[in-house]
Amino acid sequence: MNFLYVAYGATWAIHIVYLVTLVRRYSRLRREVDELKKSR
């Protein structure tokens, strides 16, 4: 039974980790866009 919860938990952990990396890449891009706008 434990394995069942670990499996479901691991699935969502993997997805959440990926989504977090996406969010971080977005914010880094946002910063770069702001820098570009400032230097104009």
């Binding site: 039974m1 394995f3 499996a7 479901y8 699935t11 993997i14 997805h15 230097s39």
Partner: protein
């Protein structure tokens, strides 16, 4: 377009929760394996989603390679159409000739051959219509990355299911090994994209994707022969499925497909913005002669 995203996000979350509820509580308890079998409702949809995403990547890679040249583009278009027609003819032939019909794997209808060919052709032309050549490459990166995520889920949930049920973490059976090889190929694809510094990265990555696509059937076949010579336990066996379980399985697949769509959409937008930013940065560095030392 952007306003739809949060709404779809909420709908997908609801769908996923419902699917989880179905998987945990509504689906009947499996006789031999018990509740651990419910991992199946996450393992299988993740696998199907990963394969679908890798398939889209394959189409995108082919398109990136052939659409650079108008001649190869036309040739590819007609090849796809011809293949679809051949599949339909093949489906009819198999349905009519009893020996061939018997040779099909259990549960497959001859019409599936025709349908598969047509669906592949439709997918090819739909992608071709809505994505120009640079967008197709962005699509390739997106589906490769999200595909690897889903494939990782498959490779993690697989052993977690196998261990309590069959006592082993891993076995070199056809499906597991093919999935592992597919994962390895696409991880190397992503590493190639990251480590390649030339402007022709998309071309090389597309070539690798084509190689990978050629490879996977061979992997499947080689492990199949290996297995007939060294029989080993079959994980997740075949056979018919209880219709209530099928319903839960399909609901989970639908939920994960919606989820995958949203993740791909986000990743795709990220890729497009990233490319625009890089272009802008390159332009900036060209237009700033004062900062360069004389």
């Amino acid at each position: 377009m952007r306003k739809a995203f949060p709404i779809l996000g909420v709908l997908t979350a609801i769908l996923l929760s419902y699917a989880l509820y179905l998987a945990m509580l509504v689906a009947p308890r499996e006789q031999t394996m018990g509740d651990v079998q419910r991992i199946f409702y996450y393992h299988v949809p993740s696998a199907w989603t990963a394969f679908l995403l890798f398939f889209i990547n394959f189409i995108g890679s082919i398109q990136y390679l052939v659409r650079r040249n108008p001649v190869s583009d036309k040739v590819a278009n007609w090849t796809i159409i011809t293949l679809a027609v051949l599949c339909c003819i093949g489906g009819v032939v198999v349905a009519v000739v009893p020996d061939l019909k018997a040779a099909l794997p259990e549960g497959t209808e001859p019409s599936a051959i025709g349908t598969t060919g047509v669906i592949i052709a439709i997918a090819y032309f739909v992608i071709r219509k809505y994505f120009n050549i640079d967008a197709v490459d962005a699509l390739a990166v997106t589906t490769a990355e999200v595909g690897v995520v889903f494939c990782t889920v498959v490779l993690v949930t697989g052993p977690l299911w196998a261990r309590p049920v069959w006592g082993i973490w891993w076995t070199w059976d056809v499906r597991l090994t093919s999935t592992l090889v597919l994962w390895l190929i696409y991880v190397s694809y992503l590493i190639l994209r990251r480590f390649s510094s030339s402007g022709q990265t998309p071309v090389m990555a597309a070539a690798l994707a084509v190689f990978g696509a050629l490879d996977v059937p061979l992997v499947y076949f080689s492990i199949w022969i290996f297995r007939t010579q060294h029989p080993q336990p079959v994980i997740g066996g075949g056979g018919s499925i209880d219709p209530r379980m099928l319903h839960v399985l399909l609901m989970n697949w639908l939920a994960f497909l919606c989820f995958a769509y949203l993740v791909c959409w986000s990743r795709y937008r990220l890729e497009i913005i990233k490319r625009e930013v890089e272009e802008a940065q390159a332009l900036e560095s060209l237009l700033e002669p004062r900062s360069a030392p004389r």
